[in-house]
Amino acid sequence: MIHKHDLIIVGAGLAGLRAAVETSQYADVGVISKLFPTRSHSGAAQGGIAAALGNEEHDKVEWHVFDSVKGSDYLGDQDAIEMMCGEAPNAIYELEHLGVPFSRTKEGKIAQRQFGGHTKEVIDENGNSKRIPVLRACYSADRTGHVILHTLYEQCVKRNVRFYAEYFILSLIIDDGVCKGLTAFNLRDGEIHTFHAKAVMFGTGGYGRAYRVTSNAYANSGDGVAIAFRAGIPLEDMEFVQFHPTGLYPLGILVTEGARGEGGYLVNNDGDRFMKNYAPTVMELAPRDMVTRSIQTEINEGRGINGGDFVNLDLTHLGAAKLKERLPEITGFAKTYAGIDPVKQPIPILPTAHYSMGGIPTDLYGHVLADEKGTIVKGFYAAGECACVSVHGANRLGTNSLLDAVVHGRRTGKTLVKYLREAEFSPLPDDAEKKDREMFANLYGTSSGENADKIRLRLKEEMTNKCGVFRNEKDLNSMLDTIHELEHKFKNVHLSCKGKVFNTELMEIIELGNLLEFSDAIVTGALARQECRGAHWRTDHPKRDDVNWLKHTIAFKTEKGIELKYKPVVINKYQPQERKY
């Protein structure tokens, strides 16, 4: 079956829905999502969305820019960061106008809290300038992503946006360098559909599911990233995977950085607030990569609680009233999953795979780029976590992800409105579904073969151990061998369920193929990058190397394997300095 829309958006999280809100009054828009839209993982974001509104204390866009550049370990492109931080206040006001129920200050303005790496400049008693935490994260208790996601979906309902919920994307149709649509299958009946469009936009989210310990949803299997890669689009900076410092032990469920923003302490087995040894000026509010390494170091050196692989996040001094008002959701998580009441007991936490800084390369307008030179792929756009602009560089600051999704969803929407005014439908190639049908026929034809779950478990386990917080050449080489072995096994994977209706086993197998596809790019990029920068930490190359590595990785899929190229970082106002907090 062929569906025709001016624009097909894939993914119904913040980036996709924000673009749908922007474009739907000017164009015929269809939104495809493998989940019902409000199930998207943007809804799990807790702590806030950054903007220098200055509602609680003096703040400046310039400080937000500097913090994001420094937080990115100077790998973020400064033109993109300036644009994002500059547009942040208006993007937030628009969200408020659309109905987002932000928490409020006493005067009734949008409330703001502290978050890691977000600072203001103050002059200390000796007349020296220093940077201390600032109230910049706009929030709605600890459910910020949830309320923004629901509000944007509500606005799509108001605008009669056409949704294809529980459709799972299979392939992009890129022909003569032009993106003409895509194929997807309807989970409800197992049928393959073709979507013919003047433009396709991906807002397909991140790829944390390649790791065993992760805060990510089952759905975060990096489908968009993998499908683009398979279609010949390169991937940028894939080796930069953020490990959030505070995942609830042992599953890795997110415990918001807002818990530390509200004053929570990190404590080791000796009862020490160990962050004083790593980031004395901002302590627990250092950027995530630093806090994560500090926690992992404490654990590795035997100072985890009772020698185990976790430390404690202590909120007991905040009091029951503050936890109820500001952090109700994580209080519930701790009770449900760890049997802990955070009012009385500290919460056991460990680092958890959380966010994908890398992804599909785009320019500032959401155009997908075909190479390291900046050639635009006509008709193909991306925004949010699946994209790499790059505003996060080597390490994203907390609350900049929702901002990235909203600002770039909006900007890409504006670009698309202009593009769609002029663009025509290009004819589809003959039988666009051929490859997908063959893949289905192969899988449905198997009567035995490799077990997908075993392949997936091994990939996740080894990615966590060998391509995690600390990396080295030996482990990364071994990880590449594992991936190649698993890719080989995957060719003989067995589909045991032969039904058409909600064949979720089939979906999981396709997702596994996607995990393997992009994991190769993560590890290949990590092996090549012989330095420490942001979230990428090589114990065998323990320093940042600006001479050789102040550049973006661009990975291409070729017949001989992955080929790496590089492109320079955009540096405007801020020259790289040593990164201390």
């Binding site: 989940l35 019902f36 409000t38 199930r39 998207s40 993982h41 809804g43 799990a44 509104l53 937030i92 006001y93 408020e96 106008h97 659309l98 109905g99 129920p101 932000f102 928490s103 409020r104 200050t105 006493k106 005067e107 009734g108 303005k109 949008i110 709605s140 208790a141 459910r143 949830h146 309320v147 629901h150 509000t151 509500e154 606005q155 309902v157 108001k158 409800r188 949803a217 089952y218 759905a219 599953l251 469920i253 997110l254 959701e329 519930g332 998580f333 449900t336 999953y337 779950d453 589909l495 045991s496 369920c497 039904g499 058409k500 209706v501 909600f502 064949n503 979720t504 086993e505």
Partner: protein, 233 residues
């Protein structure tokens, strides 16, 4: 430890009607029921179908009936049950598509009836609209709804009359009627102030008992009823 799950199965391509099947598996006491379902799916029967995503009670995908009560499979652990024989059914009263997956189209159609979006009839200011902390507190619980459907599928009034809008849709109506920024109170009340709207709620409180976000839905509906009664005076 061992646990036995008795799961209601139905494959529309094979089965005339649903049946129960038991699976005994090895689990940790801290396994979520969702983890148990994964274990059955991955080790025993790849065809077992259920929805899931975030796995920690925020996306609302995996509402189902567990030992007779609607809850999220990811929000309850094996150790929360005394008996290690656990019955798992799809959400009741909704059409079964396959196994634990139900057709939620009707549920979302009712959600859309209450105009579930902010309607403002004034030009927004350059910055944010102001809202007092007291006004924001009025919608604090209502905005936590994750649209999992556990409430509506537990409502006897809805079981007996499919035209009833149900607690989830009405809670959404409350969320906007009581938002100080919304200007469409009258038109929204017109939608719920009907025999198949608010007045089908007989304060049975099933919805409150099952809500995984602990929202006191019945209280919210009573506030809406009060609002409707007041405007008739």
């Amino acid at each position: 430890m061992k646990v036995t799950l008795s799961i209601k199965r139905f494959d529309p391509e094979k089965d005339e009607k649903p049946y129960r099947k038991e699976y005994t598996i090895d689990v940790e006491p801290t396994f979520r029921i969702l983890d148990c379902l994964d274990k059955v799916k991955w080790d025993i029967d790849g065809g077992l179908a259920y929805r899931r995503s975030c796995s920690h009670g925020i996306c609302g995908s995996d509402a189902m009936m567990i030992n007779g009560k609607n809850m999220l499979a990811c929000q309850v652990l094996v150790q929360d049950f005394k008996k290690k024989y656990i019955k798992i059914d799809p959400l009741p009263s909704l059409p079964i598509i396959k196994d634990l997956i139900v057709d939620m189209d009707g549920f979302f159609a009712k959600y859309e009836v209450v105009k579930p979006y902010l309607i403002s009839k004034t030009q927004p200011p350059v910055k944010e609209r102001y809202q007092s902390q007291e006004d924001r507190a009025l919608i604090d619980e209502a905005v936590n709804c994750i649209l999992c459907g556990a409430c509506s599928a537990s409502c006897p009034s809805l079981w007996s009359n499919d035209a009833y809008l149900g607690p989830a849709a009405m809670l959404k109506a409350y969320r906007f009627v009581f938002d100080s920024r919304d200007d469409a109170q009258a038109e929204r009340l017109d939608v719920v102030d009907t025999p198949d709207g608010l007045w089908r709620c007989h304060t049975i409180f099933n919805c409150v008992e099952v809500c995984p976000k602990e929202i006191n839905i019945t209280w919210h509906l009573s506030q809406l009823k009060k609002k409707c009664a007041m405007r008739e005076l």
